[in-house]
Symmetry: C2
């Protein structure tokens, strides 16, 4: 499998990050990930496989998440440090607003 592409976070416009986070399903995904890394299946999201794959891709392309292949799974994590460096406080306030764990 070709390696998964992750954008340089400095190349992501703020508007693109906000667009990625503006979807309820994706906010739910990010909320789950805030608790720790997981595979798509473990996210327990109510969406078809392909829709979920799509949403995850949008988040990846916006620099929100990182994925690494592990077996047949993709282990997904939030790019917390990088996001915090580029958009200080933003992720925290979003996570805090969704549901402070």
């Amino acid at each position: 499998m070709a390696t998964i592409h992750h954008p340089d976070i400095d190349s992501v416009p703020l508007s693109a990050l906000l667009a990625a986070l503006s979807d309820p399903t994706r906010l739910e995904i990010v909320g789950k990930l805030a608790a720790g890394p997981c595979s798509c299946a473990e996210m327990d999201i109510d969406a078809s496989k392909s829709a979920l794959s799509h949403h995850v891709k949008v988040l990846r392309q916006a620099g929100v998440i990182h994925q690494r292949a592990e077996g047949t799974m993709r282990i997904t994590t939030i790019r917390r440090n990088e996001l915090d460096a580029r958009f200080p406080g933003l992720l925290d306030s979003v996570l805090n607003a969704t549901g402070p764990k």
Copy 2:
């Protein structure tokens, strides 16, 4: 003119706020407003009258801005206190990321 409607900020979902802020033109508007109240014309946005009116409406419906009629103008301001109360830190981090004036 019928009074301008502003939603109760508690009724605005986070996803709707983020969607409103996810457009470059609207981020520009909010950036301008961060410097103080102004009319649409004063915003100096590169968009047609009706497109600008549309963007401003989206921001208003998302609870981001407040408008009051003054003569033939609408004086627009950011609903800063309310936003800060409902989504602590969010607006600040967005404004900070756009261009810390």
